[in-house]
């Protein structure tokens, strides 16, 4: 802060009648509102920091929304118990975005103009993020997404949109490709949803597999609202060694069941992104077929034997049992591989606001710059998923990736890929863009 402006040079005070009356009137008006002053006397330090949370409460992302909210509420309870941010309490302002890009943009507008949120946060589905982020840029509202799409690091978005709490699809794929070709087989057929998130997989898998000495023999796109899948399976070439699937949405159970019915006893190796079965009980009818197949996990769903204490503390805070389901309802399975990102992002917002000396919405730009300046994030209570490295230029974090095998209806981690092996060259430098 600069010094207060210097006093007037003239020195002498020469009151006029009109001036005196004005002052009197202003004084009266101020006195009339005095009872309201108390609320603002400490506004700089005590008013809660508001974090606008775009929740997939309805639409195809509903299960994610439910768990994103639970994780965020748990993270804020922890942050508030530890003294809040800059001594101020933090509160979540939740709005349903309907897993719909248009509504998500409106929700951002609401955060900025109606509920006076300091930052916006949340939202998984890539089409929603891609649709809403430009509005965040226009509103100059820091937008912390937990989406795992490659759209942040690809340079498609803007300086106000950051993804510091969850890794992106491109790094996940480059971490998986050597395992696919090395352990499972060289000829890969991929089945992916026909929109942005699926395209990230489509565009990045083939180069990664070829770099690892394999070949993608077929790419099968399925519309995200599809409800029956048998009609797509005949497109799978006979010489396929590995099927790579990343289906998401309400119909994934059907997808797996029909894949099982299609192949019967003679199936190729199968590798999936757990996105297919987030929030789905692996012991559901029809999923027996997945026994012995492999999954990428962003964060292990089942409590692993060697889990450190901070992972257990995180799971307890969110309310997860050892199967990764809600402690109050074992059939309510979590979206474990993604929701940790909410926990970590909220801790990063805290760290960023403290580094920036964040006081009010006028400091939003400072917050973005403070987060851009971050780099290493050590595993611990704030980062239970593992040690990460944030790239301020691309606004994207890099972290460990887990490969798990379905054994006895549970996922056991068979391989952990450290963050160093998931890094790829920068594709954008957001810090060179203007605010």
């Amino acid at each position: 802060m600069t010094e207060t402006p210097s006093k007037t040079k003239t020195g002498l005070i020469s009151p006029t009648r009109r001036g005196a009356l004005k002052t009197l009137a202003a004084g009266t008006a101020a006195a009339a509102t005095m009872p309201l002053w108390a609320r603002y006397t400490s506004a700089q330090s005590a008013a809660p920091i508001k974090i606008g949370f775009g929740k997939h409460a309805t639409g195809i992302g509903a299960a994610y929304g439910r768990w994103y909210e639970r994780t965020s509420v748990a993270a804020l309870a922890k942050i508030n118990a530890e003294g809040g941010i800059n001594g101020r309490p933090v509160e979540l302002v939740t709005e349903d975005d309907g897993t719909d890009p248009r509504r998500a943009a409106e929700v951002l507008e609401k955060f900025a103009n109606q509920s006076d949120c300091d930052v916006a946060f949340g939202t998984l589905f890539s089409h929603v993020v891609v649709g809403a982020a430009p509005r965040a840029g226009e509103l100059k509202l820091p937008y912390f997404v937990v989406s795992e799409g490659h759209h942040v690091a690809s340079g498609m978005l803007n300086r106000w949109t950051l993804q510091p709490g969850i890794t992106d699809v491109k790094s996940q794929i480059s971490a998986m490709a050597p395992f696919l070709t090395g352990t499972l087989g060289k000829k890969v057929t991929m089945i992916y949803p026909d929109y942005a998130f699926g395209y990230d997989h489509r565009d990045n898998l083939a180069p990664a597999i070829e770099a690892a000495g394999g070949e993608v023999v077929a790419k099968i796109a399925i519309p995200p609202t599809e409800t029956s899948f048998t009609k797509y399976f005949p497109q799978i070439p006979r010489d396929t060694d590995v099927i790579y699937h990343v289906m998401i949405g309400p119909a994934v159970l059907t997808f797996v069941k029909e894949m099982g019915e299609f192949f019967g006893p003679s199936r190729p190796e199968i590798f999936g992104f757990i996105d297919s079965l987030e929030a789905t009980d692996l012991t559901s009818p029809g999923l027996e077929f997945l026994e012995g197949t492999y999954f990428w996990e962003g964060n292990p769903r089942y409590l692993q034997a060697d889990a450190p204490d901070y992972v257990k503390a995180y799971r307890d805070a969110v309310g997860l049992d050892e199967n990764g389901a809600s402690v109050s309802d074992p059939s309510d399975v979590s979206t474990s591989a993604h929701m940790f990102g909410c926990w970590e992002t909220l801790h990063i917002i805290k760290a960023g606001m403290e580094a920036a000396g964040y006081q009010s919405t006028a400091d939003r730009q400072k917050l973005v710059e403070a987060v851009e300046a971050m780099s290493m994030m050590e595993a611990g209570p704030a980062h239970p998923q593992g040690t990460k490295m944030f790239n301020g230029k691309t606004h994207q974090v890099f972290g460990p990736q887990y490969i798990s095998k379905v054994e006895g209806g549970k996922l056991s981690v068979v391989k952990t890929v450290p963050y160093e092996e998931t890094i790829y060259p920068d594709e954008v430098d957001y810090t060179s863009m203007s605010f």
């Binding site: 599809e226 029956s228 009609k231 006979r238 119909a251 029809g286």
Partner: protein, 311 residues
């Protein structure tokens, strides 16, 4: 995959769709035929049938019932519950609009959203599975005249499940029963009488309003039954009514509004072509062609394939 087995798989998939579609569309057609109103909420009754099937099986599973018993109970109870809801909607809403066709369309659009959002609030946004009463994978053989002469083998991926075959058979039986009911039973006679001339039927002492409520309920029950049959294959979800409604409108328009036979034939055409085009090309193309067919039918034969020209 070779062409032969590929085509057979496509046809099996198409037949399942056709079966469910025929049931659902005949409900829509029945309501239009007798009451001369278009029920836009029909897809939601289908969804409600699937959701009710989940509710009933879930409740009975809690009591310790087996999958087959639960499913039979769902197949009986879900259409009854949905039919009762629809009949109540008829008495409380449609009757007060005097079955005026335009206003009924608007009213049923409202009903569509009420049912859909109420389901979202009560049942939730997730897709939930119902266990099929039986579901064995059946690998299907294929024949080939090779160098060694005639031989039979099991191609990769050519298979169906016993439950899918059951759906096809069940739909055929139910449609046949519906036809018998309409042509041979007294209730069917009364419905047809009401359809032909409402005023004359009233003059002969037929309680037309009761008939309307029953028909509207029965149409919804048929949709619900289709929902129950499909749910072990597809899961129950609160948005599943949309596509189903579009397809049944396509079927009913092509077949001729109000004609049961036309509806069944159109369902088979649309279901099979959707299955085959989806498998060989893309599902989007299948929808495009089906909608195009509707446009062509409306232009060149507005009464539908089996419809009777109105005077």
């Amino acid at each position: 995959m070779d062409f032969g087995p590929y085509l057979m798989l496509a046809m099996l998939e198409g037949a399942v769709l056709a079966a469910v579609l025929a049931l659902m569309a005949s409900g829509l057609s029945l309501v239009f035929g007798v009451m001369r109103v278009v029920n836009v909420a029909h897809g939601e009754f289908y969804m409600l049938g699937a959701v009710m099937a989940w509710v009933v099986t879930q409740f009975l599973a809690g009591l310790g019932g087996g999958a087959a018993v639960n499913f039979i109970a769902a197949a009986v109870l879900a259409p009854l519950i949905v039919g009762a809801i629809a009949a109540a909607a008829d008495v409380t809403i449609l009757k007060r609009l005097d079955y005026d066709p335009e206003r009924v369309i608007v009213a049923t659009i409202g009903l569509l959203y009420v049912i859909q959002q109420a389901t979202l609030m009560g049942y939730g946004p997730d897709a939930k599975p119902v266990v099929a009463p039986f579901n064995q994978r059946l690998a299907l053989p294929w024949f080939e005249f090779g160098e060694d002469g005639f031989q039979m083998y099991y191609p990769w991926g050519l298979s169906t499940t016993s439950y899918k075959l059951f759906v096809i058979v069940a739909a055929v039986v139910l449609l046949f029963a519906l036809r018998l009911f309409m042509t041979r039973s007294r209730a069917g006679l009364i419905m047809r009488a009401t359809q032909l001339d409402r005023d004359m039927a009233t003059a002969f002492g037929i309680p037309v309003e009761k008939v309307y409520a029953l028909v509207f309920g029965a149409g919804a029950a048929l949709a619900a039954l289709a929902g129950v049959l499909i749910v072990p294959i597809q899961q129950a979800h609160y948005l599943m009514g949309g596509d189903a409604l579009l397809l049944s409108f396509i079927v009913v328009i092509i077949g001729g509004l109000g004609s049961l036979a036309g509806t069944v034939v159109a369902a088979v055409i649309i279901g099979m072509s959707d299955g085959i085009i989806s498998v060989f090309f893309t599902p989007t193309l299948a929808k495009i062609i089906a909608t195009l067919a509707v446009a062509l039918v409306l232009v060149f034969r507005p009464q539908g394939l089996f419809g009777v020209k109105t005077r």
